[in-house]
């Protein structure tokens, strides 16, 4: 005989069975029965956020840092709609989170009851799947399915909407042991034999092959495999923004990020290659530029677990739907060892040309540049921190000046480009991986979108280091205005509060840095404190991120920083 439990208790016991410890959430009327039951389960640790969007970002940061499902909880109506940006962010970057929302009681659903919103309707296009639980007997299996769907195949957010009276209802209950039934859910696993043969044929005959390494490699746990493939056939590797960490940066075969603000050598290599091996990436417009002229001379192999990504933006020669770890294990034994020395030398020449343009090699006088700050953070954290970013110039500078060695140590909103993501995701990441040194690198604009979570960081005593790169502008938009709108800086110049005083109001140790010489000391200051710290770096106001492929331009039509003798 089972025990008699309420829906709320069943829900929480199911979370425990899924291995959940942290719930990022915010209470309200329709989810109150579940909050009431929380005290019975000390295994669960609820983190009280200051805005539900950030509950989703924290769950997302937790998920990306650990590979485990992050959980966010909110009440009906405004609580649920506040989650939306966070859910869409997780969806675009394939991050496994489960969101639990309270709903008004079943008898009043559809009556525009107080705080009623059709949240399954609202989130339909931005979730991998969602549920409204109308029968308490289906609650447990729904939670099990939600976690299974969120973490398997191409991961993504799943939302479960639970009416208040379902949370209150009591039934005799035991944890179900039968496997969940999902007849229509079959993520692909392996490549077919003909696809393996076709891919090997291309790989073994290529003169100028290039691997495009994406986020999927990390989610599949295939980072060792991609390195083995690259080393065996001496194939250079370009990374997507979310692919940073898929192959160690600093490895002789790793060129660096591709795309709009990618390193020139990666973009030139893409255009010059005779074979692209795209692994767990999706040819987003920010990495392809003009698709009509994209990599014109190459054959293309694309491996992704989501079949709908294949031949979506770029037509390929061999399209493989499968799990990368399994597919690479199928491919590697058939790959011939080769040297590709001419090709690698060509790439090295491009890299040397970029070195000549490198801003870090120049004397910039009194000015403090974002690139210098990030490079110093890299240096003084031994290149080994887990870094989250917000969205904008500082994000691209992080990607360029903070090389990552280990997988899943760089967390950023790539697909949706959600300002405000940086700091809350750092809190989630730090709670998920307490042994890591965690830095949130943010802009003065984006930080002000979610800075209320400073209070959460203090309340939970989360040891994150926040670096604000304050350029007094919505920098990335200002850059576009400078380049494409004749410097009409409409609505991008921005007043900010005194960030140091603000931090102090929260009880957070803080420092302001205006000169290069102070940077090292400030970083040491942040690292020496337990709990959250904040450093405001007052950086050059009108700085640019180079190279830049203008939106929709050919990938090799980069705007580049002039060489010193050309300037």
């Amino acid at each position: 005989m089972g025990r008699v439990l309420s829906g709320a208790e069943i829900l929480l016991e199911c979370l425990i069975e899924e291995g959940v410890h942290y719930i990022f959430g915010y209470p309200g009327g329709a989810i109150l029965p579940t909050y009431d039951a929380l005290s019975k389960y000390p295994q669960l640790h609820h983190v009280l956020v200051r805005h539900e969007q950030n509950a989703a970002h924290m769950a997302d940061g937790f998920a990306r840092a650990t590979g485990r499902v992050g959980v966010a909880m909110a009440t009906s109506g405004p609580g649920a709609t506040n989650l939306v940006t966070g859910i869409a962010t997780a969806m675009m970057d394939s991050s496994p989170i489960v969101c639990i929302t309270g709903q008004v009681s079943r008898p009043v659903i559809g009556t525009d009851a107080f705080q009623e919103v059709d949240v399954t309707g609202v989130t339909l296009p931005i979730t991998k799947h969602n549920y409204l639980v109308m029968d308490i007997h289906e609650l447990a299996d729904t939670i099990r399915e939600a976690f299974y769907i969120a973490r398997s195949g191409r991961p993504g957010p799943v939302l479960v909407d639970v009416p208040k009276d379902v949370q209150n209802e009591k039934i005799e209950w035991e944890y179900p042991t039968a496997p969940v039934k999902l007849p229509g859910y079959r993520p692909p696993a392996q490549a077919s034999e003909p696809d393996v043969v076709a891919a090997l044929e291309l790989i073994n005959n290529a003169k100028k092959p290039l691997i495009l390494a994406g986020h999927g490699l990390m989610m599949s746990g295939a980072t060792n495999e991609v390195r083995e493939l690259a080393e065996k056939a001496q194939i250079p590797v370009a990374l997507t923004l979310l692919g940073k960490g898929a192959m160690p940066e600093g490895h002789p075969l790793t060129i660096g990020m591709m795309g709009m603000h990618g390193v020139a050598a990666s973009n030139l290599a893409i255009q010059e290659a005779d074979l692209l091996i795209a692994l767990g990436m999706r040819f987003d417009d920010r990495v392809t530029g003009n698709i009509k002229t994209y990599s014109p001379n190459s054959k293309k192999i694309h491996v992704d677990i989501d079949p709908s990504e294949l031949n979506k933006n770029i037509q390929v020669d061999v399209a493989v739907a499968g799990d990368l770890r399994a597919v690479l294990a199928q491919l590697i034994p058939g790959v011939k060892s080769t040297a590709h020395s001419d090709w690698l030398n060509t790439i090295r020449d491009w890299q040397e040309d970029a070195d000549e343009r490198e801003i870090l090699r120049r004397d910039t006088g009194e000015r403090l540049l974002g690139a210098q700050v990030i490079n110093d953070i890299w240096k003084f954290t031994g290149g080994d921190a887990l870094v989250t970013t917000d969205v904008g110039q500082h994000q691209m500078l992080e990607a360029q000046y903070y090389p990552h060695i280990r997988p899943s140590t760089m967390i950023t909103s790539g697909g949706l480009g959600t300002m405000g993501f940086g700091m809350p995701s750092a809190i989630g990441a730090k709670l998920g991986r307490p042994e890591e040194e965690v830095w949130a690198i943010v802009g003065d604009g984006g930080f002000q979108m979610t800075l209320q979570e400073l209070a959460t960081a203090v309340q939970e005593h989360v040891n994150i280091n926040i670096a604000i790169l304050n350029n007094g502008f919505l920098g990335m938009v200002r850059q576009w205005q400078e380049l494409f709108h004749e410097r009409r800086y409409n609505e991008t110049h921005m007043f900010s509060p005194d960030f140091v005083k603000l931090a102090e109001a929260y009880g957070i140790p803080a420092m302001r840095v205006t000169k290069r010489e102070q940077v090292e000391e400030a970083i040491a200051f942040a690292r020496s404190h337990d709990g959250p710290t904040l450093i405001e770096f007052v950086v050059e106001k009108e700085d640019m991120v180079y190279p830049m492929v203008p939106s929709g331009a050919d990938l090799d039509a980069m705007i580049r920083r002039p060489k010193p003798n050309e300037a």
């Binding site: 039934k181 007849p183 229509g184 709908s308 997988p407 899943s408």
Partner: protein, 185 residues
């Protein structure tokens, strides 16, 4: 004309018979910018499974993409591009036309004889013609009815089934496999 020579894709989907499935499918087509020409849903011989026939404008999307996106929806069990192979397809129309004089009634009788159509209701003012045929035949018949005076019309949209031994997978008892994801950090 062979049935698969067309500017349209005819795709069939087996879906779990649960609330919201139709919304998921139509939402998918809208957000992927596919253009639905017609969509019809109905129960099958298995109570848990419904079947949809979706006709899509092929200018904007190839069949492969449509099917891959449909299969991504969790309640979609199986899909087939039946339009690409030999298949049977039917559209049904009910057309209310004028029947208030001898000329109109004579014309009606003559047209109906030359099509898979019949008069299912007739009165002093109006008659209802039922046409069940391939979509293009339905259209021709409607075209011929037009001069008489159509006042109301309804169509079910196309339903289709592949010929021969190709059976869509409707096994319902398949269970989830353990996750293959490693996600090593």
């Amino acid at each position: 004309m062979p049935e698969n020579m067309s500017t349209k894709h005819t795709v069939v989907a087996l879906v779990e018979n649960q609330p919201g499935v139709l919304m998921r499918v139509t939402n998918l087509f809208r957000r992927r910018n596919f253009n639905i020409d017609s969509l019809s849903v109905g129960r099958t011989h298995r109570p848990q499974i419904s079947r949809m026939t979706i006709v899509v404008d092929s200018a904007r999307a190839n069949a492969q993409r449509i099917m891959a996106n449909l299969l991504k929806l969790v309640p979609v069990i199986d899909v087939a591009n039946v339009g690409a192979d030999l298949h049977v397809s039917r559209d049904l129309a009910l057309v209310k036309v004028r029947s208030d004089d001898a000329d109109s009634r004579n014309a009606l009788t003559m047209i109906v004889e030359r099509y898979p159509a019949r008069i299912v209701d007739i009165g002093n003012l109006y008659a209802i013609v039922e046409i069940t045929a391939q979509e293009d035949r339905v259209e021709q018949c409607i075209h011929e009815l037009e001069p008489i005076g159509i006042v109301e019309m309804v169509r079910t949209g196309v339903v289709a089934m592949g010929r021969g031994a190709r059976i869509l997978d409707s096994s319902y008892e398949r269970t989830a496999q353990p996750s293959t994801n490693g996600y090593h950090v």
